[in-house]
């Protein structure tokens, strides 16, 4: 089989949300001794990009996005350890620290954003829900992260997003570590008011915003 055909199959496995196929092809790539970064970037990434396009055009909905993100994660969980073994690592779009702010125990929306960021090539460190605010900053510094994503689902916990932005200002890290905010009561206006760097209305929008922030 031509390598281009294999890449095409990989792309299709992601678009169709076929986890077994995505995993099988990943193993095949390893067995054939292919350049795994090339496999990811020319095989799987175009698949998730196409899924994003289909979402934007209204052809795909949340279930398709999630199923494709699952496939991507499954394939990456096979490929990445092999990359590490060979002394290489996956070229990522950037490193993201994500979590739901202190006092807030909602995690579904945050999980969706984390999954879509991961599927789209970001290295995501998920701190979970009810995360102490200083932990976002400490972890971002420790991991040399590019972006902190803050989720809040209540008007009473949204203020935590502002506090994290203020903490970064105090430490003169504002702009060096970008902040993205999201969650049901969060709006673009709120994001601007607290001087966050980005706001994502949904998981796919968050991916776009994150990519945009990385290119600045």
């Amino acid at each position: 089989m031509r390598i281009e055909d294999l890449f095409e199959q990989m792309k299709k496995s992601i678009i169709n949300g076929n986890k077994e196929e995505a995993e099988r092809l990943a193993r095949e790539a390893i067995n054939k001794g292919l350049d795994l970064n090339e496999v990811i970037n020319k095989g799987y990434v175009p698949g998730i990009q196409e899924v994003g396009r289909l979402w934007e055009e209204g052809e795909y909905f949340l279930p398709e996005l999630l199923t494709s993100a699952e496939c991507m994660k499954s394939a990456m969980s096979i490929l990445e350890p092999e990359l590490v073994k060979s002394g290489d690592k996956r070229k990522t779009e950037g490193k993201v620290i994500i979590g739901t702010v202190e006092g807030d125990i909602h995690d579904i929306g945050k999980n969706l954003v984390a999954a879509m960021l991961t599927a789209n090539g970001f290295e995501v460190i998920d701190l979970g829900a009810d995360v102490p605010l200083n932990m976002f900053v400490d972890k971002a510094l420790e991991e040399q992260a590019n972006i902190i994503c803050l989720s809040a689902l209540l008007t009473t916990t949204m203020i935590g997003q502002k506090k994290v932005v203020d903490m970064l200002k105090e430490k003169s890290l504002k702009g060096k570590i970008k902040v993205m905010v999201g969650g049901a009561p969060v709006t673009k206006e709120w994001a601007e008011r607290i001087e966050a760097d980005g706001y994502g209305e949904n998981a796919m929008e968050a991916v776009k915003v994150a990519k945009n922030l990385m290119s600045r």
Binding site: L62, L66, A69, E70, S74, D104, I105, N111, L112, L154
Partner: protein, 213 residues
């Protein structure tokens, strides 16, 4: 009045209702049947994780904190209900295990399930109000309209939420997440706010507590 604790509620969410919760109701969504099948397969497992409970207490207006939303009510019922924490824990676990769609379905089921429990508890309380000779209002939850989210503290002052496993966090969020707190005002005169009754709005057509069509 004494505190009443209940644990007999009927929860039965149809795949069609979850399709709506998941935002997939539109006619041209091609995979609707496929998703319904996935939901159907999971329902028996999901139901094992649901532990519905409710607690309520009816107090006199004089026992309230005199918030304007209680004005003109003779009595007020305060209530909390939940489906417990097992389902939401499993939903989060599934997501961590890279089963995102399944996790989302579990969560959506929980949202609908706790609504059904609230609907039934509402019916029980409203029926009691009528038996007592009052006219019950619809149910309202803190955080909606003129009743601020901070008023959760008042509900939990009157009701021991922990008796049904619900605690209030400092952010006024309840834990488990799939919990609903609400009030029903009892009036001497019929109340008419021009909207359909909650039972008429409720999707649970076979609910044993359904009063109106």
């Amino acid at each position: 009045m004494e505190i009443v604790i209940l644990d007999e509620f009927m929860v039965d969410v149809a795949p069609d209702d979850l399709i709506r919760v998941l935002g997939l109701k539109r006619k041209d969504y091609p995979k609707k049947e496929e998703i319904k099948e996935i939901i159907q397969k999971e329902i028996s497992e999901i139901k094992k994780l649901i532990e519905p409970k409710g607690i309520y207490r009816i107090i006199d207006y004089e026992e309230t904190n005199r918030h304007p939303i209680f004005e003109n009510a003779k009595k007020i019922a305060l209530a909390i209900c939940t489906i417990g924490s097992k389902l939401e824990k499993r939903s989060s676990e599934l997501m961590r295990e890279n089963q995102m769609l399944k996790g989302l379905i579990y969560d959506a089921y929980g949202s609908e399930a706790v609504e059904q429990v609230a609907c039934q508890l509402d019916s029980i309380i409203s029926e009691q109000a009528r038996k007592m000779g009052f006219y019950p209002s619809k149910r309202f939850s803190p955080g909606y309209g003129k009743w601020e989210i901070e008023e959760q503290a008042f509900i939990f002052k009157i009701l021991p939420g922990e008796e049904i496993g619900v605690k209030l966090r400092s952010s006024f969020m309840m834990e488990p997440r799939k919990s609903i707190s609400f009030r029903i005002n009892f009036y001497n005169e019929p109340v008419n706010n021009g909207k359909k009754s909650l039972c008429a709005q409720c999707k649970m057509k076979n609910c044993p507590f359904r009063k109106e069509e």
